[in-house]
């Protein structure tokens, strides 16, 4: 019995690692269509990774061990996060070990390592990107925590699988505070994953970069791992969103066997396709904010999440 759950756990992580670049490719494709450009092929991220893995890595002379270890740390942290988030099944042995607050800690660890590695070389752009990343991160984290607290209050647990199970148990209950939490979560997702209102992932202008500026010194397999980790991060955030707001189809506790698993897989693919299109749509509608507007944007996300808590307390009856 426990062997099977471990196999499922492993399968979920492998699936997350495998289809995360596909999700990024799908978003890029949707964005290109919305901007009337001819889209890159769906498998472009895989080709990119393949190309990078076949190159020889170049390291700066001053690079320390930290710089070299960071890509592996990032990738490991994101893969572990994928193991905690119930994207297909809720009966995950690893998810019992760490709740959603530990998950945010995991993301924070990855962020600290990435920023330190960017500062490690000592170039101006890397340092600038690291500072901006830390600023965005420390403003986005409380907002994300508030969103999660909102869900915790509704279902009385801090573990994501329990939330999904709880939702399946009383399906009819739609809490109005969910609207606020969803809006705040979307804002945090865009900010945390270096998407458009805060950071443009496709920019070539170093002065406006946040995420890209930190990767300027990486090459070959290191760059491939970092890029893969960031697409995994986006995938993880999307799956957190599904677990919190659209938990339909996820195979809940006790639903063993092939059919629920297959349904969960189909539901996940469908939700990812819709979410990718929606993200591309939101991004195409918004212009990049000045970096000094970023605190304003994230403060709004935080306040909306707090508002959700208040509304929940008011309308609980």
């Amino acid at each position: 019995m426990s062997g099977i759950t471990f196999i499922r756990q492993l399968a979920e992580v492998v699936l997350a690692i495998a289809i995360a670049p596909l999700f990024s490719g799908w978003i890029a494709q949707c964005r290109a269509w919305l901007q009337n450009r001819s889209a890159p092929p769906l498998l472009q991220p895989y080709r990119m990774l393949d190309k990078l893995f076949h190159k020889d890595a170049a390291l700066a002379m001053d690079a320390s061990a930290l710089f070299r270890a960071t890509p592996y740390v990032l990738f490991g942290a994101m893969a572990l996060a994928a193991a905690i988030i119930p994207s297909l099944v809720t009966d995950l042995p690893l998810a019992r070990v760490a709740d959603a607050i530990a998950l945010i800690g995991l993301f924070a660890t990855a962020r600290v390592f990435q920023s330190l590695a960017a500062m490690d070389i000592g170039t101006a752009f890397g340092t600038m990107g690291a500072r901006r990343e830390m600023m965005v991160g420390f403003l986005a984290e409380p907002a994300l925590l508030m969103v999660l607290f909102n869900a915790f209050l509704v279902f009385g647990s801090t573990a994501l699988p329990d939330l999904v199970d709880g939702y399946a148990a009383h399906r009819a209950a739609v809490d109005p505070s969910v609207i606020f939490a969803a809006v705040a979560f979307l804002m945090v997702l865009l900010a945390e994953n270096a998407r458009l209102p805060i950071d443009n992932p496709a920019t070539h202008l170093e002065l406006t970069m946040i995420h890209e500026a930190m990767l300027l010194e990486y090459s070959a397999r290191h760059l491939a791992l970092v890029e893969w980790a960031s697409s995994l991060k986006l995938f993880n955030y999307a799956c957190i969103g599904f677990a919190l707001f659209l938990p339909w189809g996820i195979a809940t506790h006790g639903q063993d066997g092939g059919l629920p698993l297959f349904l969960a897989f189909a539901a996940l693919i469908g939700k990812l396709a819709l979410a990718g299109a929606a993200l591309a749509f939101v991004e195409s509608l918004s212009a990049k904010l000045r970096i000094f507007r970023a605190p304003e944007y994230l403060a709004m996300a935080f306040l909306i999440a707090v508002l959700g808590l208040l509304v929940h307390l008011l309308l609980r009856a």
Binding site: A172, A173, V174, P176, S177, I179, F180, V183, P295, E296, A299, M300, L303, I304, V306, L307, L310, V311, L313, L314, L315, A317
Partner: protein
């Protein structure tokens, strides 16, 4: 019974949407976006009024819902759009000082409104009584918007948003006001917006801008 429970839940969700739009209005700079948001607020109001009418079985609430649709979703936003087009103020944006601080004040207002409405809503018997706090919060947030804005048009938008909040409070606490009063208010609003539109042109002719700070001094220096 389950359907009325469901309706109450949908109403709660709509009320939450109303509050969310109020906060969005507080943080928008562009006048045109504000008008769009006002129209959305009217649409949510229309939906919630229809639901209240359906659940209470009072047919006259349908009339007031239709009035809301015509006036607040179609007529007033259209008039305002035309006004800012004629004034050449489509892309006007006003310098807002410190949006996070404004939002924090808004949050305090929401807490205040919720606390204030708690004992009142205990007395009400309608299925929507829990949304009274939200209605009160929408009114106070519109107040806050009128206080923090300086342009004449945005003040009018704040005024209309406040009326939306009052209307919502009326439907949620007592299933709406008598038809005569509602018609009177609707006419007042329409005429008010017309007159204020004329005022806009006068103000701009006098001061070459729509900034109300010019009205604060009695004489020109």
């Amino acid at each position: 019974m389950p359907t009325s429970h469901l309706i109450a839940q949908v109403l709660n969700v709509l009320a939450a949407g109303l509050l969310l739009i109020s906060f969005a209005m507080l943080s928008r700079r562009r006048t045109q976006r504000l008008i769009t948001l006002l129209a959305w607020q009217g649409a949510i109001l229309f939906l919630s009024t229809c639901l209240v009418a359906h659940s209470s079985g009072l047919s006259e609430i349908y009339y007031s819902a239709a009035l809301t649709l015509m006036l607040k979703v179609i007529a007033l936003p259209w008039i305002l759009h035309r006004l800012i087009y004629q004034l050449g103020a489509q892309w006007d944006s006003e310098p807002l000082v410190n949006i996070p601080a404004t939002m924090l004040v808004g949050l305090v207002l929401v807490i205040f409104a919720f606390g204030l409405a708690q004992p009142i809503s205990m007395l009400a018997t309608t299925i929507t009584r829990h949304t009274l706090g939200i209605a009160l919060a929408v009114i106070l947030l519109a107040f806050l918007m009128m206080i923090t804005r300086r342009k004449a048009i945005t003040q009018v938008i704040g005024f209309l948003a406040m009326e939306n909040g009052l209307f919502f409070a009326a439907t949620s606490a007592t299933y709406g006001m008598p038809m005569v009063i509602e018609l009177g208010i609707a006419l007042d609003l329409l005429v008010g917006v017309f007159i204020l539109g004329i005022f806009f042109f006068q103000i701009r002719e006098q001061f070459d801008s729509l900034d109300l700070h010019h009205l604060e001094s009695l004489k020109e220096d």
